[in-house]
Amino acid sequence: MTSDIPTPTPPYHAQTPNPPATGLSPWRLWVPLLLQAALVVAVPAQNAYTYLTGQRIILQTMPIDPDDPLQGYYQILNYEISRPDRLQMLPGGKELFGQYRTRHHFSFYLVLEAPILKVVTAPMSWQPVRVSSDRPTDLAANQIALKGQAQGWRIVYGIETYYMPEERRDRVNNDIIRVQNRGNNFVVEVRVDDRGNAIPVSLWVGDRNYRF
């Protein structure tokens, strides 16, 4: 390979140290630094839009297993609408989530309807009405479309994680288990924008509201 070419002795070294940095003009730092800052701001741009423009809805969670305490510093939220068997029963659900479904990785829209009953102490959850693979355009005034992703048998809406301080974790956890044992509701307040993207805003454990 290289060895039969007469190379000069002493050997030349490829790993030269970084070239001297003297005289490097300041823009060599500030241009990439500002671009990096732009990246930092761009990370949650979509979520900020959803937060500012989105409509407030309430979603029902699944019961939490008391033997499986919260891990880390965030809560994994499981919703009733995260279960394929629940979605399958809705109009339009059989083709997307039925036994003979053809696709396993796809996105879909779930139409939810505002509750008719109003309770003063705690909010009532919105009810799923139908599913479709295209964005519905004929929504009634009390309906909203939430965008979801099917990943195999897992269904995600991008609202499954809720970060909370380490110190408060145990208290919230105990509260949730206590409320669920009493048969009360643990629901999540979510904001959904006009394109169906959603972010979680606060937790309603019984009549208590947690917002972090």
């Binding site: 002493p10 030349y12 070294h13 490829a14 003297t22 730092l29 701001v41 900020a48």
Partner: protein, 473 residues
Amino acid sequence: MVSEKFRRQLRQEAEQWWHEGLIDASAYGQLADRYQFSEIDSAARNRFTAILMGLGGILMGLGTITFVAAHWEDWSRLSRLFLLLSLFFGVNATGFYLWRQHTLPKSYQNLGQGLLLLGALILGANMALMSQIFHQSGNLYELFLVWGLGVMLMSFSLRLTSLGVLAGILLQIGYWLGFFGSISSEGFWGKSIIEHMPLVVMFFLIPLAYWCRSRVIFALSSIAIITSLLANLLRFEGWMIEVAIGLPPALFWTYTDRIWKFERSHRSPSSLDRHFQSIARSLSTIFLSLVLYVFSFNIWKYLLLGELSWEQWQSWRHIWIDLLILIALTLMGWLQLRSPKRRWQFRKNRAINSLTIAITIFVSVSLAFWHWHIQSIAIVNIILFNLMLLLFSISLIRDGLALGVRRTFWGGTFLLAIGIVSRMLEYNTGLLLKSLVFVLCGVGVMIAGLAFEQNVKKSQHLSIPNSSEEEAS
């Protein structure tokens, strides 16, 4: 730039010559002047401080990231964001101005580099905090990819190797997280980067290696290209396995920067190209050895083509873009071997040369293709792959001996020994035979090693060793 090892040896020798009266004080002074003997120790010291500063920067960065993760209650998220952003700008700016100040002692420049590294880690902490504020769920791999790209940007601008290495590592973490995690089906830019990781590395990190003149970045990028290409190809349930066997070694064996010609530095450009070529060829040889070793096992009849569903195929069909570009580059590289300028690489006095590599790749790919697509020839394949493994390892040993390259010699010996031992353990042979083979292998390796060292010593007496030979494997 003369290597430090050589200068150190020369200083030692020159001192001895001076004491023995071979040269006088003025000649010694001239040598000391020319090779800057006085700076050898301070260079080592500087490197040590640079490592310490870098390590300190990384530890402080990890501290910052953990601080974000700890989700400190007493501060609101916005004040934490403000704190982290000011820290981000402050640390980077301080690092930059210290690093480029040449009037300050060298240790301040090292501190500057360490701070720039810390700044790169704070960038990640900032991104994580932003995503936490809005309770973003999942897709951690996207965060790593964006982070890696951001750091790479800075590395390009400042021409800083340490940041380039960090960027490469972050991109790879992002790639593997995305590869093993469930990637959503559509609409995510992250998926495109994962799908085209070999191209991303080739068009960004390899030029960065040239720009920073860094062998570390080049080696890291080459490994990243090979592993991500393999991983992407193996998604096809075995339907692309021939490409996975043949393309990486063929691509890297003929690597030259005449294809990826981005910058020709005024400082010995050919030396850089040769060093990179040497790394590429070593990787190609190692990859081919692994292929021969793996397929010499009795696994052919168990390796079956999986069922590739239309959905799977649709989901990963964009790999064609990568394959077309990489195959085109490979063909260009092999065609360049025909040019008189590169004729020297077609070495006749080496057993592992372009011709033998080409034959090995061709035979391996053809056998695999025949087995899976035409007719099952498991027994033939096992015999032929074992034969090729044997010949390949003997050729490596022979090259190592003939050229006095230690790495090649020991690589070949190891391959041969592990090949024989694997066959022994794989097939049901008697214990006596097993023990005999183990003993023979051990004795063989010892004798070969002693013979090699004798040979090297002899050749060292005849000529001053050339370190570029050591590089070539």
